[in-house]
């Protein structure tokens, strides 16, 4: 699927590491990004040293619960919020160091689909104007070729030509999100960042939009960063997955590995928590409750050492004392890695099959 074979750990420690990978590893390389915000209550670190990379035709799913920093990371990658540290390289160009004008010119190579389908569209512009806007602002093509590109994009996302003169408010939620996607792909970007693109939609519409993204990714050879809190949707679309917790990536690997053999206690808890429509649903939730304890700590006062230790059933003094560095799981070519001191001692808890009680292991 991807021509750029990914080698090496995808996690980096907070401290700058020696250049372990020479040359570009993909169309998008995010290295050690840190984003801080000032809030009324104090300064918080929303994203804390996150690194990831993305190859053409590949989808990386980014999952985590609210407040984990996944949307802020998306905005940092899009250069919509300032980064305190780190770099974002798009096709080899470091976006963070570009002057504003140059950055604007690069933007047609990396586009974004937003969570709120209606709010992300200018209420006073027609559908075709909205979709054509990226072409116009980047001066791509002339009037006729732009109209053709808009029509093509509309067809790709499954919008009937009849809606091109309508206003966003005259469309259904699903159609609005199709407009948002058409606008994002009309410039033929290399990277598409999707921030919770289906969570505002009804279930029967979600499936339609997921299929649109799925088809586009294959057809346009997009590198896609897909952010969602819905694990089944991420599982369905992603080649690789990264799990975020309190601003850090705690586990990453191929989708099948992370979902069938989650190693990090948080990933295990997260996956087990998803209610599934089967007979073991209730027992599984019981298991989940033992893996995720208590409440999410405040970002204003994050735990020392391992971020997850306050909720982890396996935590001990070492977890409080030192922050676990990313470690690669054996036999995965470094593709599967996680931040946990004790992962070797924790049973693999299969996320795919209903957990049987024999797999229970006391902390």
């Amino acid at each position: 699927m991807s021509d750029a074979v990914v080698v090496g750990s995808t996690l980096d420690t907070g401290s700058p590491e020696p250049e372990e990978a020479a040359g570009p590893r993909g169309v998008l390389e995010v290295n050690d990004v840190m984003v801080e915000f000032d809030t009324d209550a104090g300064r918080i670190t929303a994203v804390d040293g996150v690194s990831l990379h993305l190859a053409t035709g590949e989808t990386l799913g980014l999952v985590g619960e609210s407040g984990c920093g996944k949307s802020t990371l998306a905005r940092a990658i899009m250069q919509l919020v300032p980064m305190q540290r780190g770099s974002v390289r798009l096709e080899g160009t470091d976006l963070g160091t570009l002057p504003r004008r140059e950055l604007r010119r690069m933007r047609h190579r990396i586009q974004m689909v937003f969570q709120d389908p209606r709010g992300s569209l200018d209420p006073r512009m027609s559908v075709s104007t909205i979709i054509g806007e990226p072409l116009r602002v980047h001066g791509i093509g002339d009037r006729t070729s732009r109209a053709r590109a808009v029509a093509e994009a509309m067809e790709l996302v499954g919008l009937p030509t009849a809606v091109s003169d309508r206003l966003p408010s005259e469309l259904s939620g699903g159609q609005q999100q199709r407009v948002g996607i058409a606008r994002a792909i009309v410039t033929d970007p290399a990277v598409l960042v999707c921030d919770e693109p289906v969570s505002a939609l009804d279930v029967s519409i979600q499936a339609q939009i997921i299929n649109v993204l799925d088809e586009l990714r294959d057809e346009l050879d997009l590198a896609m960063l897909f952010i969602a809190h819905d694990l089944s949707v991420v599982r369905h679309l992603s080649d690789r997955v990264a799990v975020m917790y309190l601003g850090q990536i705690v586990e990453t690997g191929t989708a099948s590995e992370v979902f069938t053999e989650p190693r990090h206690p948080y990933t295990q808890g997260l996956i087990t928590s998803v209610p599934r429509a089967d007979a073991e649903s209730a027992t599984r939730l019981q298991t989940a409750r033992r893996l995720v304890l208590g409440e999410l700590p405040s970002l204003l006062d994050p735990p020392s050492g391992c971020r997850y230790r306050t909720r982890c059933p396996y935590a001990d003094d070492e977890c409080a004392a030192t922050e676990p560095p990313p470690e690669a799981v054996d036999h995965t070519d470094g593709l599967h890695s996680l931040r946990c001191h004790h992962w070797r001692d924790i049973a693999v808890r299969s996320g795919a099959q209903p957990s049987s009680n024999s797999q229970e292991q006391a902390p």
Binding site: D122, R124, V137, G180
Partner: protein, 299 residues
């Protein structure tokens, strides 16, 4: 069999303009009432474009034998609907002729003020921070100054002229536009579609011009209508004080001023142009507020 649980109570709480004097006036007017208001405005516009169609007499023709005729009296020239002035000139014709300059000054000055206010408001609201503080202080400083007195001073120093009126009058209104537009821009810049246009690669001027401006345009238009009336009043005030429009040009304000010494003998010379001015300002206000409540309800 049906059990009616709750009844609809009014159109919803969003329309704050339903309350107070304006609200009551607005609710008093039916749909036909609105047509009348619009018709009145259209007549004024027509009178300023082709006054000769409306004026029964030459507005400058003096007729010393027909001085100070009351409304409805006739001279050798024919009927003087609203009477004549001290030189025997037909008041109705003079009011019709005055409409052009009155409207021209009010509309132009409002548009100039709106342009400045919209620009400042957009910049301040979108960028926030120092730009915003600077622009808003400027507006406040100006609002705090007794602009009417400054205008009188300026006009009496430089000599009254329509040109200077078009400098002075916009100063009265731009802070109002700036405040409204700034508030709208502050709200809009938090909308996802603004973030989406930055992500798309739009320049700041594109975002301001193509995204923010069209979204505040309805508010601006409504405000323009209301402010035209206010500017009209200000111009009349200045002209009344003798520092505004000078004869032989004429506006409604000037007519009021010219009639004032004769108020005891020829009330119509002051009262009738005053009534016309008052009605016009009222109509503009009503229309503006009506449209505002309509667009507010439509979301």
């Amino acid at each position: 069999m049906g059990v009616t649980v709750a009844k609809r109570t009014g159109e919803g709480p969003a329309r704050t303009s339903e309350h107070g004097v304006w609200g009551r006036l607005i609710s008093m007017l039916g749909s036909r009432g609105w047509m009348l208001l619009v018709l009145f405005l259209l007549l004024l516009v027509a009178a300023s474009i082709v006054p000769d169609v409306f004026a029964p007499h030459d507005h400058e023709a003096q007729n010393l034998r027909a001085r100070l005729l009351g409304p409805g009296e006739s001279s050798s020239e024919g009927l003087h609907l609203l009477g004549t002035d001290s030189l025997g000139r037909d008041l109705f014709s003079r009011m019709v002729i005055g409409t052009r300059l009155t409207m021209f000054i009010a509309v132009t000055a409002t548009l100039i003020g709106a342009a400045i206010g919209v620009l400042f408001g957009l910049l301040g609201g979108y960028f926030g921070g120092r730009t915003d503080r600077l622009l808003m202080r400027l507006g406040e400083a100006q609002t705090a100054m007794p602009m009417f007195l400054v205008a009188i001073l300026l006009l009496s120093l430089l000599g009254p002229s329509v040109g200077i009126l078009l400098v002075v009058l916009p100063c009265l209104v731009w802070p109002i536009f700036a405040r409204v537009v700034r508030a709208e821009a502050l709200r809009l810049r938090e909308e996802t579609f603004v973030e989406a246009s930055i992500a798309t690669g739009c320049s700041t001027s594109t975002i301001l011009g193509r995204h923010l401006l069209p979204n505040v345009a309805p508010r601006i238009l409504v405000l323009c209508v209301v402010e035209i009336g206010h500017v009209m009043l200000a111009e009349a005030g200045l002209s009344f004080l003798g520092v505004g429009v000078q004869p032989p040009d004429t506006t409604w304000g000037l007519l009021i001023s010219e009639g004032r010494p004769l108020l005891a003998v020829a009330w119509w010379l002051t009262i009738l142009p005053g009534v016309l001015l008052g009605i016009t300002v009222l109509v503009l206000n009503l229309l503006g507020r009506y449209w505002e409540s309509r667009s507010g309800a439509a979301g």
